[in-house]
């Protein structure tokens, strides 16, 4: 078991954002979390890092309880996040952004990892001395994924990686997700608004509503579920 959340509650200011979340991620799985705006998807991701900290419940990662561990310490234990909105350091170069990703990895792997990233994302090699803020949205998304991978995480979290991207980049993102999992055995937890594609790449999925898990199942099951279809896959008739 890579990650277990047991009855996790969390508050965001005065909002009770998570109300008893139970989620499991097995080693080598892609798990997708879908839900409407404001359902608490991003809060759930961030609560894994203790930001906001769970007010109740337990989070176990790789056999260790991380509920009370510092954010930076959790990151060092092997969870990496590609956050919503990408959060590239805008005034650092592409190279420096990648170095930040590798800040707590074994320096011995650095050169090999960098080469791997450049192979996976050739655009980053071309842009390596450009400032992060000057990249286009798609390029930033590639950089954000590469940055996360530089730390050789055991678990990769992706928060809305397709948001605001051109279709061509959306394809690329899902392709990478699939490759990472299939070719490198990476365990991935994916949060998506784009439920259709997200569920298609996932082994399993959860539906989050008002801070609670309302449905769980394999990707195919959820895709077929009438509730999911009605709420997340088909537009109303307008």
């Amino acid at each position: 078991m890579m990650l277990t959340m047991e009855g996790v509650h969390a508050h965001y200011g005065h909002i009770h954002a998570l109300r008893g979340i139970d989620v499991e991620v097995q080693v080598g799985e892609i798990v997708t979390l879908i839900g409407a705006n404001g359902a608490g998807k991003s809060t759930l991701m961030m609560s894994l890092f203790g930001n906001p900290r769970a007010s109740a419940g337990r989070i176990v990662f790789d056999g260790e309880d991380i509920t009370r561990v510092h954010t930076h310490e959790i990151a060092r234990r092997g969870i990496a996040l590609v956050p919503e909105g990408r959060r590239i350091f805008p005034r650092m170069t592409v190279m420096e952004n990648l170095q930040m990703g590798a800040a707590h990895a074994d320096p011995a792997n650095y050169d090999a990892d960098l080469a791997r990233m450049f192979a996976m994302f050739p655009i980053l090699e071309q842009r390596q001395s450009q400032r992060g803020g000057t990249l286009s949205g798609g390029e930033q998304q590639m950089l954000a994924i590469a940055r996360a991978l530089m730390s050789r995480p055991k678990l990769l979290l992706l928060d809305e990686p397709s948001l605001g991207l051109a279709p061509i980049y959306i394809r690329k993102v899902f392709q990478i997700v699939r490759e990472l999992n299939r070719d490198h055995g990476m365990t991935i937890l994916l949060v998506e608004q784009n439920a259709n594609q997200a569920l298609r790449v996932a082994h399993r999925g959860y539906v989050l509503q008002h801070g609670e898990i309302t449905l769980a199942g394999t990707g195919a099951e959820l895709l077929a579920s009438p509730e999911v279809r009605a709420a997340y896959l088909e537009g109303g008739h307008g």
Binding site: E6, H14, A54, A56, R58
Partner: protein
């Protein structure tokens, strides 16, 4: 699905001791160079004196203080947790309603107290005078609140407008014999003019760049007042500024030929308190007018535009708002109110000099706005009262006075980072308060 509620676990005795020990150790390190050692003058040379006894006492006090503080904080947290466990947390609407009610009640109490104060203290100069000072700062705070709290423009040189008002009145009255009431609007307009003058060159600046330029502007005004002796009296300032009269009646022991004094007209025995109380009510009226003016403005397009500007300047432009005019109007109105306060200050002191208009003064006024809760009118009253009274209370502690003042500023800020009253009341509501909850339920 088990719900284990975490209470942040209470510290064990050993942990408490270790924590306090660590803090005491830091206190020791910090104390060595300043408390443990001191230099004294022995016949034209310095020698080092040691005060290890004092240092030890300080470290012990820090240790005990930390233990006590931790314990107190833990208690407070426990009580808070118990309370929130007992009752469901109030909804945002209910909280807003509650806060609004408190502020309203508080406002009326403050007003009542303010009106009644001179009646209860009619023979106490100090109380009336201190209350007058509080009101001057309240007025200044309300003025700066327009610039900083509403429009979100950080102004570290607000004292410049205060100075412009004060000097305008001082010069108009001593040089040209203008009365208080004649000079008041002119001085306010002059201050507003300076506000626009300052506003123009810095329209493009943001945040801290704006702050430093306003700070510089304040300093420029002060340096000019100090050096341009022919105009401002230089460092000597201007003395013998006439006091405002009560509809032409002076507050003097005896009137010049053909005029009457206040006491004489009303057949009272002369008392210097009459003038003091009159000045007090004068500033009270000015302050109330300011309050009415600013609260009204806040609900007008211009006031909403200020707040929108604070929230997002680019969105303002995209909505077709002329941000230049909005900024300038904020500077002008803030400056005008500062100018009014300055006029009153000059009239009350009877003497002004550049020393009253230093950066420290700007910092205090800004602190009033921020401590009060940006944009909150009642917050300004509360903060002004605190910041004037703390140093006055401090007089009992002689040389520790300013030390306590500094510490209090830090502590209040940490205690209430959003200011004492941080609740923002909307300028307009679609659904009046009581019904909001119902409306929300209906929407679910």
């Amino acid at each position: 699905m088990s719900t284990v509620v975490f209470a942040r676990h209470a510290m064990t005795a050993a942990e408490r001791l270790r924590d306090a020990g660590w803090v005491a150790f830091v206190g020791f390190i910090l104390g060595v160079p300043l408390i443990g050692l001191t230099t004294v003058d022995v016949g034209g040379r310095l020698a080092v004196n040691t005060r290890f006894g004092l240092l030890a006492a300080t470290v012990a006090a820090v240790f005990a203080g930390r233990l006590l503080l931790r314990w107190g904080l833990d208690q407070a947290r426990e009580r808070k947790q118990a309370r929130s466990a007992a009752g469901a947390p109030a909804s945002a609407d209910e909280r807003a309603q509650g806060a609004q009610k408190v502020v309203t009640v508080l406002g009326w109490i403050a007003l009542g107290a303010a009106v009644a104060l001179p009646i209860f203290y009619s023979d106490n100069r100090y109380v009336v005078d201190t209350a007058t000072t509080v009101l001057i700062y309240v007025m200044l705070g309300w003025g700066l609140n327009v610039v900083v709290g509403l429009a979100g423009l950080l102004d570290l040189g607000y004292v410049a407008f205060y100075a412009v008002g004060a000097y305008s009145y001082a010069l108009l009255s001593t040089q040209y014999g203008w009365s208080f009431w004649e000079a008041l609007p002119v001085s306010g307009a002059l201050a507003a003019g300076f506000g626009i003058l300052l506003g123009y060159p810095i329209l493009r600046l943001r945040g801290d760049y704006l702050a430093i330029v306003t700070l510089g502007f304040g300093e420029i005004i002060r340096v000019i007042l100090v050096n341009w002796t022919e105009f401002s009296g230089g460092p000597n300032g201007i003395s013998s500024i006439p006091r405002p009269s009560f509809f032409g009646l002076d507050f003097a022991r005896s009137a010049p030929e053909g005029e009457q004094t206040f006491a004489g007209f009303f057949g009272l025995d002369f008392s210097p308190m009459h003038r003091l109380i009159f000045l007090y009510y004068l500033i009270l009226v000015l302050a109330l007018l300011t309050h009415a003016f600013v609260s009204r403005l806040r609900k007008l397009p211009v006031g909403r535009a200020w707040e929108a500007l604070r929230e997002d300047e680019i969105a303002c432009r995209a909505m077709g708002m002329n941000t230049t005019n909005i900024k300038l109007s904020a500077f002008a109105i803030g400056a005008m109110l500062g100018g009014f306060a300055g006029v009153f200050f000059a009239a009350r002191q009877g003497f002004i000099s550049p020393e009253s208009f230093t950066f420290a003064e700007s910092a205090i006024i800004l602190a009033i706005v921020v401590l009060g809760g940006m944009g909150s009118q009642m917050g300004v009253v509360l903060a002004a009262t605190l910041l004037v009274l703390i140093p006055e209370f401090g007089r009992n502690f002689a040389e520790y006075r300013m030390l306590l003042f500094g510490a209090a500023m830090v502590l209040i800020m940490i205690w209430k980072p959003g200011g004492l009253l941080s609740h923002r009341e909307p300028t307009v509501r679609l659904n009046p308060l009581g019904r909001a909850g119902a409306a929300r339920e209906a929407a679910r």
